[in-house]
C-alpha cells in the first residue's frame, strides 16, 4: 500500500510537466506569429503585392520558399503579410466582444431581476440563429469589409462573455467577503468593480484567448466566401480561396495559408487550455 501514493504522485508530477511543456509550445507558436506580424515588412523577402507574371505558379524553391501564386506574387511574403491583417483583426474582434459582453454580463449578474432576464433572453434569441447565417446576413446588409465584420462580431460574440461573467458574478456575490465589503459601507459600484469583478474575471480571460482563435477562423471563413477582407490585401482565407482552382497542380497556394491558420489556431488552443487549468486553481 505504501508504494501506491508515491506512484500516483510521480504520475501526477509527470502529467503536470507534460502539461507545462504543451503550454510552452502554445506560447511559442503565438509569440512567433505575433513577432512575424509586428516585424512583417522587415521579414518579407518580396513585396506581398508585387506581381511578376513571368514567375507565376512557381513551385517552392530557394528564391520563393513557398512558391508563387497565379499572379507571380511570393506566397511566403503574402502569408506573413496576411498575419498583419488576421491577427490584429481577430484580437480587435475578440476585444470588442469581450468588452460588450462583460459590461452586459456585469450589469445582468450584479443587478439581477428583470434586467438580467432581459439580457439573457436576448442572448438566447441571438444564439438560436445559426451564427454564420446571421454573420453573412449582417455583412451582406452592411456591405463586405472590415467594419461590417467587427460590428457583426460585436453583435454576436458578446453572449458567451456575458453568460460566463454573469454566472461568476452570481457566485462571487454570495461570498462572505462581498457581504463584508458592503458592511464597510462602500458604494455598490465600488463593490462591483473592486471586489466582485477581480474575483469573477478568470474564466473570461481563458475564454478570451480561445475567442481570438475563433474570431480569426470566422474572419478567414468570411474572407474565403468573399465577404471579409477584399483582394488584393493578403488574408489567409482569401488566399485559400484564390489558390483553390490550382489545388490539383499547385497545392502550396492553399496549404501555406491553411497551414498558418491551423498552426496559429493550435497555438491559441494550447495557450487557452493551459490558462484555463491554471486560472481554475
Amino acid at each position: 500500500m505504501s508504494a501506491a501514493p508515491s506512484t500516483i504522485a510521480i504520475a501526477t508530477a509527470r502529467r503536470q510537466r507534460a502539461r507545462a511543456r504543451i503550454s510552452w509550445i502554445g506560447i511559442g507558436i503565438v509569440v512567433v506569429f505575433a513577432l512575424l506580424a509586428v516585424l512583417g515588412p522587415m521579414l518579407t523577402p518580396y513585396d506581398p503585392l508585387a506581381q511578376t507574371l513571368l514567375d507565376r505558379l512557381q513551385p517552392p524553391s530557394a528564391a520563393h520558399l513557398l512558391g508563387t501564386d497565379a499572379l507571380g506574387r511570393d506566397v511566403l511574403s503574402r502569408v506573413i503579410a496576411a498575419g498583419r491583417v488576421d491577427l490584429p483583426l481577430g484580437l480587435a474582434a475578440a476585444m470588442i466582444s469581450a468588452t460588450v459582453g462583460s459590461i452586459l454580463g456585469s450589469v445582468g449578474g450584479f443587478i439581477g431581476r428583470w434586467v438580467d432576464t432581459l439580457l439573457m433572453r436576448l442572448g438566447d434569441l441571438v444564439m438560436a440563429f445559426p451564427t454564420y447565417v446571421l454573420v453573412i446576413a449582417l455583412v451582406t446588409v452592411m456591405g463586405a469589409g472590415i467594419p461590417a465584420i467587427l460590428v457583426s462580431f460585436a453583435l454576436l460574440g458578446w453572449i458567451p462573455y456575458a453568460r460566463l461573467l454573469r454566472a461568476e458574478i452570481r457566485r462571487v456575490t454570495h461570498e462572505e467577503y462581498i457581504a463584508a465589503a458592503r458592511l464597510s459601507g462602500i458604494s455598490e459600484l465600488r463593490v462591483l468593480l473592486q471586489h466582485v469583478l477581480p474575483n469573477a474575471v478568470r474564466p473570461s480571460i481563458a475564454y478570451f484567448v480561445l475567442d481570438i482563435m475563433m474570431a480569426i477562423l470566422t474572419l478567414a471563413s468570411l474572407s474565403y466566401l468573399g465577404l471579409g477582407v477584399q483582394p488584393p490585401t493578403p488574408e489567409w482565407g482569401t488566399m485559400v480561396a484564390e489558390g483553390q482552382p490550382y489545388l490539383q497542380t499547385n497545392w502550396w497556394l492553399t496549404a501555406a495559408p491553411g497551414g498558418a491558420i491551423a498552426v496559429l489556431g493550435l497555438g491559441f488552443l494550447l495557450l487557452g487550455e493551459s490558462l484555463e487549468t491554471r486560472l481554475r486553481g
Binding site: H174, E176, Y177, A180, R182, S184, G185, I186
Partner: protein, 273 residues
Amino acid sequence: MTGAPHELLRAEGVSVLLPGAPPDRLVDDVDVAVHQGECLGLVGESGSGKSLLLRSALDLVPPPLCTQGRYLWRPSPDVEATPLDRRRARGHDIGMIFQEPMRALNPSRRIVWTLSEPLRQHLGLRGAELRDRVLTMLEDVGIPDPIRISRSYPHELSGGLQQRVMIAAALSTGPRLLLCDEPTTALDVTTQATILELLRSLQATRGLSLVFVSHDLAVISEIADRVAVMSAGRLVEVAPTRALIEDPRHEYTRMLLDAIPGRRRRGATGVPT
C-alpha cells in the same frame, strides 16, 4: 414602545420570511435588545435562525428572504430604523465578523488593501497616514508582525490571524456594536480561546457592545453577559448567563445544556414542571 436609554439596538417583532404560500417564518417575531457595553450571546442549534436574525439587523439577509418588523437604534430610539438606515449603519455604528474568516476576506487583494479601502472611503485618509493607521489597526488586534501581515494575501495566513484581520477590518471605522457570527467555530480550541480573549479586551477597552452568535453554549458562557436562546426561529429564553446555566427556564435550554459533554444531566434534578 421606545427603547430604554441603556439599550443600543432593539429588535421589535422581527421576522425573516421565505416568501411562499404560506411564507416560511425562518425567524419568527423576535423581540430582543442589546445593551450598551454588554455582550449578548445568541445560542441555538443549526437552522434555528440565529445567523439570519443577526444579518437582518444589517439588512444582509440573502434574497429572496425578506425581513419584517423593526430595529430601533439608540441615537434615535423613537425612529424606526429603515433598511436604508441599517445599511448606513454599516461601517459606522455596526461592524460584523463572520464564521469563516478565509471566506470573508477578498482572496485576490492583499490585507493592506482590504483594510485601507473603508478608511480611504469614509475618512479620506491617504498615503503614509493611511498605512500607519492600517498598521495600528493590526497591532490593536494583537498581530505580532503587522508590516509583514499587511503585505500578505488572506490564504497565506492562519485561521486565527485571518480572524484577527477580520476583526481589525470590522473595527476600522469605530463601530459601537460588533456582530459576531460564530467567529470561533472554524478555529481550533487554543486559537478560539485567544480570539475570545481579544474580543473581551476590545469590549472592555473600547466600550464595545457585542452580539455573539454560537451553537456552543460553552463558548457563549465564557464571553456573554446575557444569553438569548433560539429554537426553530423563535426566541425561547433570555437571561443573564449565570442564571441561564444554573436555572434554565425553558425545556429547550435544558436540552442544550445537557448536550454539553461532561456535564451532569440536569433534567432529573428538578426544575418544577
